[in-house]
Symmetry: C2
Subunit: 156 residues, 2 copies
C-alpha cells in the first residue's frame, strides 16, 4: 500500500515550496536569467549556514551571469536535462548525476547555460560566509557591500 | 554527436571519486552502518566550508545511528531508491526527489534506514562549524572534542 500522507518537517516535498523566477540583476544583464526558477529548499527547512536551491532552467536560460565568489564555496549537482558549464577551461556538458564545484577565491568564473530544448534541473549549494563579493569578468558589474556595482564601484 | 571526453575540474563525474565504505563508530554500534558507502564529492572539488557526500545505502543499511548535531546544519536529497527517515515525529518514506533538513541545535535525532530490497542513493550536505557535538539519544554514545564517548564522557 502506498503511503500518500504529505511529508512533514524535517522531511520536505519540494513540490510544496514556492518558486522564485527571474533575477535581481540590473539592466542590461537580466534577459538571459529571466527564465531561471529557484526553490529555496534549505531556507524552507530552517537550514542557515548554507543555502540549497532546486533550480529549473528553461531552454535557452542561463543560471547566472558568469561569475566567481571571493568567499563563498559553491556546489552543483544535475538532476534532469543537460546544461553546459562554461568556465575558463572551456565548455563541458553536464548530464544528470554530474557535479561541479567552485571553491571560494578561485578566479575561474562559471555559469550553466541550457542550450537544449527541454528543462534542466539541478541542485545548487552555497555557504553564507560574511563579506562575500562576486566578480563578473565578462561584464561591467560586481556585487559587493550588498549592491550590484559597476567595476568603478558606482551602484547600479 | 555525443561528447565522451572525461569531465575536468571544476566539473566532476562522481563515478571517478573513491568510495569509503563502513563507519568510524566504536563497537557495538557499527553493524547497521557497515554497508554504507560515501563518495566525498565536495572534498574532491576543493569545497571547504561544507561537505557534500554521495551516499549509497545497501538494503538493510542505516545512514548512521540516530543523532542530532549541536552546531552543524545538515541537508539530504534522495536520488534513487527509497529510504525511511526516522525522527521524533515518526517514520516517513523518502522517495527520489524528496528532501530533509536538520537545523543545528534542534534536538530531534534522525537517520535514514533502507528497508527496501534495492540500493538507495542520496546526497548529504553538512557544514563544518567548529566545536560541533553529536548526540545519539538511543545509545550510550556522543561525539565531542574529536572522539566518540560514553554519555559520562569516557572515550570509547
Amino acid at each position: 500500500m502506498v503511503d500518500t500522507r504529505p511529508l512533514v518537517p524535517p522531511a520536505l516535498d519540494p513540490a510544496t515550496v514556492p518558486s522564485r523566477t527571474g533575477t535581481a540583476y540590473p539592466e542590461p544583464f537580466r534577459a538571459p536569467c529571466e527564465a531561471r526558477a529557484k526553490q529555496a529548499l534549505g531556507n524552507e527547512l530552517g537550514i542557515q549556514t548554507f543555502g540549497v536551491n532546486l533550480v529549473r532552467l528553461e531552454p535557452g536560460s542561463w543560471s547566472s551571469q558568469r561569475h566567481w565568489h571571493t568567499r563563498q564555496d559553491e556546489f552543483v549537482f544535475v538532476l534532469e536535462g543537460e546544461s553546459t558549464l562554461i568556465t575558463d577551461v572551456g565548455e563541458q556538458l553536464l548530464r544528470p548525476g554530474m557535479a561541479a564545484g567552485f571553491p571560494a577565491g578561485k578566479a575561474d568564473a562559471h555559469h550553466l547555460v541550457n542550450r537544449t530544448g527541454r528543462v534542466a534541473v539541478y541542485l545548487e549549494v552555497g555557504d553564507r560566509t560574511p563579506d562575500d563579493e562576486v566578480n563578473y569578468p565578462d561584464i561591467d558589474m560586481r556585487h559587493a557591500a550588498f549592491a550590484f556595482r559597476r567595476k568603478n564601484g558606482e551602484k547600479y
